[in-house]
Structure formats: structure tokens, C-alpha cells
Symmetry: C2
Subunit: 499 residues, 2 copies
Amino acid sequence: MPRRRPRTAAPRRDVDYGRLRSPFPVMEVYSADQIEAIHEAALDLLEAPGLKVLLPEARALYRAAGALTHEGTEIVRLGREIVTAALASAPTEVPVAAAVPERDVTLALGNIVFQPGAGAPHAADLTRGRRPGTLTDFKELVQLTQSFDVLHIMPPLVEPQDVPLHLRHYDMTRWQMALTDKVPFVYARGRGQVEECFEMIAAFRGLEAEAFRAQARCYTVINTNSPRQIDVPMAQGIIDFARWGQVAFITPFTLMGAMAPVSLAGAMVLSHAEALAAITLAQLARPGAPVCYGTFTSNVDMKSGAPVFGTPEHFRASLVAGQLARRIGLPWRCATGTAAATPDVQAANETQFGTWGCLLAGATVILHAAGWLEGGLTVSYEKLVTDLEVLQQVAELCGPAELDLALDALRDVQPGGHFFGAGHTMERYQTAFYDPLVADFSNFGAWEEAGGRDATQRATGIWQARLAQAGPAVDAGRLAALDDWIAARAAKGGCPPES
Amino acid sequence: MPRRRPRTAAPRRDVDYGRLRSPFPVMEVYSADQIEAIHEAALDLLEAPGLKVLLPEARALYRAAGALTHEGTEIVRLGREIVTAALASAPTEVPVAAAVPERDVTLALGNIVFQPGAGAPHAADLTRGRRPGTLTDFKELVQLTQSFDVLHIMPPLVEPQDVPLHLRHYDMTRWQMALTDKVPFVYARGRGQVEECFEMIAAFRGLEAEAFRAQARCYTVINTNSPRQIDVPMAQGIIDFARWGQVAFITPFTLMGAMAPVSLAGAMVLSHAEALAAITLAQLARPGAPVCYGTFTSNVDMKSGAPVFGTPEHFRASLVAGQLARRIGLPWRCATGTAAATPDVQAANETQFGTWGCLLAGATVILHAAGWLEGGLTVSYEKLVTDLEVLQQVAELCGPAELDLALDALRDVQPGGHFFGAGHTMERYQTAFYDPLVADFSNFGAWEEAGGRDATQRATGIWQARLAQAGPAVDAGRLAALDDWIAARAAKGGCPPES
């Protein structure tokens, strides 16, 4: 049950969706030897031919650690002993502080952290249609993410395209501070923006620079430029997040048959190699820097070249990534998704299928778990709600299972009778079962009479009601100070992204 | 790939959906001690207060084995030693012969057998709407079940309500013989109908009675009358299927809070007790009789009392059933489902969620895995297709995973380049990935331009195309002989069901 739902006179179930420990067994695709072969092939690939690193500062860090670097080609050849040492310094548990302790998360193998769809250029809902994302959409989706306990940290839901790029990081940070007490997201779009975001978050949390640096309080996602390339803003992001003690989710986006080999194992060699290189850079920038290993490996549709998600290939790639994450012992980020153009049954099925891939892979962070459509081009408000039903059901499975044999009831109810009226039932029925968010259990006649609306149509009223709820308590003085700070920076021209 | 799909010039993937071995780890809810406590509580319940068995012949079989029976109350009190002996004689592997060897199935722990929705009074599709099931619907759904390799045995899809009950078993058997080479279903609606069905199947397969008896060739589902009751047709069915060497899927239908205690463990004690009692009856009728342990335990919506499926409670009940099935070592039948009134996102999500419950429970047979709606009141043609996409994706995960590291391609493709044109990709791309049934991977613009139809709408064309395909080869002489036999029986008044 969402914590903030108004209480009624009836007893309420009290299942904590806010901290999930996985009850799911992990599933393996490859043997330990085969995983070792992938790991070794990734290390081989980093030694030769190596990877291209566009930021001189990053090449210098690699070079100082003993890597072979070439300034003309920008190629870095990274010995396996450098990678192995870096992996040894990466923390296996990463506590991340939110605005309030109830929202803190710990990134560690065995925990489950759900996030809704992230980074979409478009937003869509049934009342306003599909449109380029705006600051209004961003704010609303932050509010919705805030209102569901089963969503644990805040992603960059949609791009507020009505805010110019040199000011966008101000608004995205300001509204995360104002509307949510969950861990905020910062884009790695260059040192200038990143350090400004850190400054805003530290000030809003009332922290000096050193206190901010001592504890992860925000995170970013680093996508390498597969194959085998790390660009300037990504390399800066890796370095800056490491130096400031904030979390980088290192996530090569390796589509089999496009940016990666068409074979599962080949794609995983590439993804793993790039993740190892980026994790190594973070550790070279600051040993012990909090990082999250990550993969986002799926396939393309070989008829069109379009990226697809929630496929069997995506599922298996998640499983192999989990094996590799456990091989190196780090918390890791995985993702589900869908290529569907509309929040239909395909979209639901692909998203749930991909979610099960992540769960059976033992993923720590499961991104795009609600609302994501069109391979990430849109976040749908209605799909957010219908996917959340699945996530809440998964969260229920994370709760304890009591052993109540009900022996008296079993003896008392006569053959062919029923348990509706049994004392054992009456004492428990109001809180025994999951109370659905959007599912309608009416029979066909009642459902038809009530308007015959499908789950997606019903979801509209649910997100609208959530938006009408109050958000978390926020310090008005700090918010005013943040607004003043932003106004002053904006007046000086803001800060353009690195490219 | 469906085996019967027309070949094109392009190379085709060759994944065998017809025989699936589970690659999924099993998930447990309770400890071994707790499972033992449920098992012992079930045995206790059968000893006292026992269960009500309405068929005198069944009570006589129990009595002859040493059970305490009371003819006035029809109560049977069954000692645990009788149950334990019966379990020892039940086969752990049950081979079931179809019309052709490619369609044979083996019921054994570790195998996966999918079935579409079964026993619905209504059929629905987008072209003809929702209606009471007819023989036409039954025939079409048999054809559709036949046409998808991932559906392994034939269930009683919808009730042909336009055929009177005393003739219905003739038509259901006749059309299964004519339209499918998969293992057929026979309803246990009394000895008369059952023995007539066995006679039709044996004759159509060209078998004498003893040859038919020596090998399972059809199956039924036995639903006990929970709580703690076995009625006349069910008891007859258990006995007759056992004596004729045909398979009974023993499936108490125990909804937590309705026919079973509101608690998970309590409901599982009841379900397990009833299944053990029925399996024992089968073994007393003929030691070694092929049976399949089964459960269908879900919960009711405590606001309305309506049965619901694909819930967290249903998922966990499946897991516990799997633990109990492994405790007694028998193949077992589980089920997914949905309470949704329409083939929408709720229906898809609940069905897939329940399917994962079955898969992680290690279920041998997964019933209602495609097309089922409204808690079993309707089979939807479109939902059949969209659910089949999920089942085919699951089947893909059952295939082998090769380890192709693609080392040459990884070295050859330059940083920031792509693998689309790599030789390694070109050689494999046509067969590397799952080819979807109904998923549309077009981008939003192309999808909208093509009519903006959702997956459910697209499914209509898919089932229509499948119905236009040819069915399996059938011996015309035997079919004519079957028709003559049926005509003669019908002329004598048919055979009414037992009640």
C-alpha cells in the first residue's frame, strides 16, 4: 500500500514497498567457465585493441595508472591488472541518502530498486495526447514517481524540451528538490552543469561541500558510446561523480546487431569491457568511488534495425549481465522496456517480460520499469500506472510469508461448505490480500454497465488523483534561496552542456 | 517458429517449441520443515475429520484399503499409510501418446506443457463479440490450438452450448480427432460418456481395448468439490481413467477465503489433502495409474467475493504447490488466469504474472496460459494470440544458449562504429533473434500511419490467418466410421452426463 494513501476506518495492510529485498532465485545462462571466458575476453579487448577515450584528462588518469595511451588516436589500452585493482576498490554496498531517511536506498546485490521510464523526449497521456516533453510533464512525472512507494529513486523522466539546454539542469534539479524526497538524478552533461547541480543539492540539503562529498546523495547514468568509446561529457561525468562521492550507474547500451555483435556472448563481452573501463576510470579518479555496474543489452529488429526490448534476447542478456555482476561482486543496474508505440498489451507484456528478466538476473536497480514506451521515446502516464500494478505485485512477493495452517477452520467448515463466514476468514479478510491499484475484478455485466473501460482508460483517473495529492514537506526558505541562486546564475547566461 | 508456417526463401530459425524442458530455477516460499508441516496437516485432515465421497464404489475402494467409511454421512477417513502407499505406486513420469509421435508429451517434473484457456462457457473475438460458446467456436479454437506448437495438449476450450449435453461428448471428441493431432481431452461427466469417449478415441487410433489401456492417450481434469468433497462424476472419472490407463489431472480449485481458508498455508493444506485423497483413489482403482498432481489455488476479491487470478497470492500458492509436488515427487498441473473482463493490459499482466508463478513453481502443465478471460467465463481469440507471444518468448528461453564471443567482429569494428554491416552480423542476422507473432516494432509515425492498431486489434488478423491454414492429415475412412458410430449412438438417445 502506498504510504500516503488516506487512512480509512478499515484495517490496512502494512507492506513496506519502500525497501525490497529480492526473494527470487537467480537464473543462469552460462556456466561459471563460460562467464569467465566472457570476463577474460572483455579484459583482452581492453588490452588490445583498447578503447577510444575522447577526454584528455581521462586518458591522463589511465596513463598514470600504467595504461598505454595514444594522444593522436585517443586510444587507451588498459592492462587487466589495472582493471582488477580498480574492481577491488569499488564498494560492494553503496548507501545513498535521500531527503529523509525513509527514502534512503542501499545499492547492493540482493536489493531491488525500481525506477520508472527515464530520459524520454516525449510524454503521452489519454487526455492530452503525445507531445514533446515539457517542464510541466517533468514536474508531474516527478510527483507521480514520488507518490508511489514502489518507485525508489528519481530518474530523468522526460526531457523538459521547453527549457533551453543551458538552463534545463537548474529546473530539473529545482523541481526534484521541491517535489520529491527521493534520491534525485543529475545528468552528466559536462563539468559545469554537474558541479552546479551538486552545489544546488548540497545547499538545499544544508550541507557544506565536504559533507556532501562524504555521502552519495544523487546519481547519474553513464552511457558509453558503444562500441568501445567514451565521449567527453561521459568521461567528465565519471570523473566528477567519483571525485564528489556521488553514484555513477555505468551503463553501456549495447544492442545486439547494431552497436554490439549480433551474438549474445559477443554483445556481453563488449558491454562488460566498456563497463569495466568506465568503472576503472571512476576508481582512478577516486579510489572507493561509489559506482553501479550496469548493462542495457537488447537486440534490434533485424527487419528494420529498430531497438526492441522485453524480447527473449533481452531477457537472456540481463541474465548474463547478472552473472557478470556477481562475478565482479558489484551492485548493478538493469532495465526492462518495450518497443510498442502505444500502451497496449504488447507494451505491457514486453515490459513485464523484461522485468522478470531483471528480477531473475538478480538486478539491484531496474530502470524503465514503469511508463516507458517506444523504446524510450515516450513516457506514458497511463502505462506508468498499469506497470506499477505489476511492480506492486512483485513487491508483495518480497514481503514475509507467514505459515498459518488454519487448522480449526479446516476442521470446522463442513464438506462442500465455504469459508466466507468462518471466524478465521472474518478476522483476516480485510487485510489478507493485495489491494489492486487499477485492476477491476467486476464480472462482465457489471464492468460493461460501469462503462466498459479497459485498464489503460481507468489509469487516467488514478494518475490524476495522485497529482492532486500533497507532496513532501519542503523547507520554503531553502527553496527560496535555491530560486535566488538559480536566478543569479541564469542572469549570467546559465551553463551550456558539454558536447 | 511454428512448424507449419510456410517456408520462405530466407533462412529460418529452428527452435523446437514442441518439447520444452524448464531452464527456470524454482522459487520457494516455505522451508522444508514448513512444507512438511503442510503435508502432515493434510494427512491429519484426511484421517479426521476426513472427506465426503458421494460415490459408493469409491467409498468401497477406500474401505477395502483400510479407510474408515460411514455410509450414512458418506465420510471417508483415510489413514496416512494408505495415502503413502498410493503415492509410492503413482508413476513419476507419464508418457502420453498423441496421434503422431511429434506431439507426444511426457508429464514429468522439469518439463513444461502449455495449454490455452479451458472450459469457458463463452467465446469472444473482436469481429463477432462475446457470445455463448458454440460448436463452431470449439472447432475454431481446437484449430488454433493445433496451429501453435507451443500449445502442447488440447483442453476443452469452450463449451459448445448449442450441442445438447447428452450428445456434446460425441462432437467434442469427433472434432478433436478431425482437427488436431495433439493429445485430446475428455470430460469426466460420468462413466457412460467417459467410456464412449475412450471407445471413440481407441477406434479412431486403430487400437483394441487392451492396446488403448496400455498407454495414456487422453486426459481429464478432476476438480474436487472443495472443501473436502468428491462428487459422483468426479469419483467415477478418477476410477475410470485409472482403470483405462488414461491420465487424470487432479485439481482441487481452492480459492483462499471462499472454498478454502483465507490463509495461504491453510488453503494449501486443503488443496494438498484433496489432491492426495483423489490420487489415492486412482491408485486404489489401479496401482500405477497415471495421474498428475494439481492445484489451482488463488484468492477471492474480498470486496466482492469474486475469484481473482495472477495476483501475488495466486503466485505464492503456485510456488507452495510446486514445493508440495516435489515433496511427493509427481508431475503436476498449475494454472494462470485473469479476472479481467476484456483482453486489456490488466488481462495481459495478470496472465503473464500468473504464468511466471507457474514457471518459478516448476509446474509441469500450465493451464489457461492463453486466451482465458473473466476468471474462466470466456476464451478470447485475440487474447489467445497475444498470450501466445509470451509463451513463445518463454519457449525461446528453453532453447540452448551458444557461446559465440564474436572476437573477430569485436576487434574489427572501430570505436563508435556499428555492427550492422559486419560479416559476423550478416551471416547470422536473419535467424539470430525471435521473430514475433503480433508485436509491432515500428516507430510511432509508421505505426500511426499504418492505422494505429494496438496488439489486440492486430491479433484478429493473426487468428483469422491461422484458421485458413490446413490442419493435420486425418484418415478419412476412420473419420467416416466414427461419424457412423456417433450417428448410431445418437439415434439411440445419446448418453446423458452423470450429475
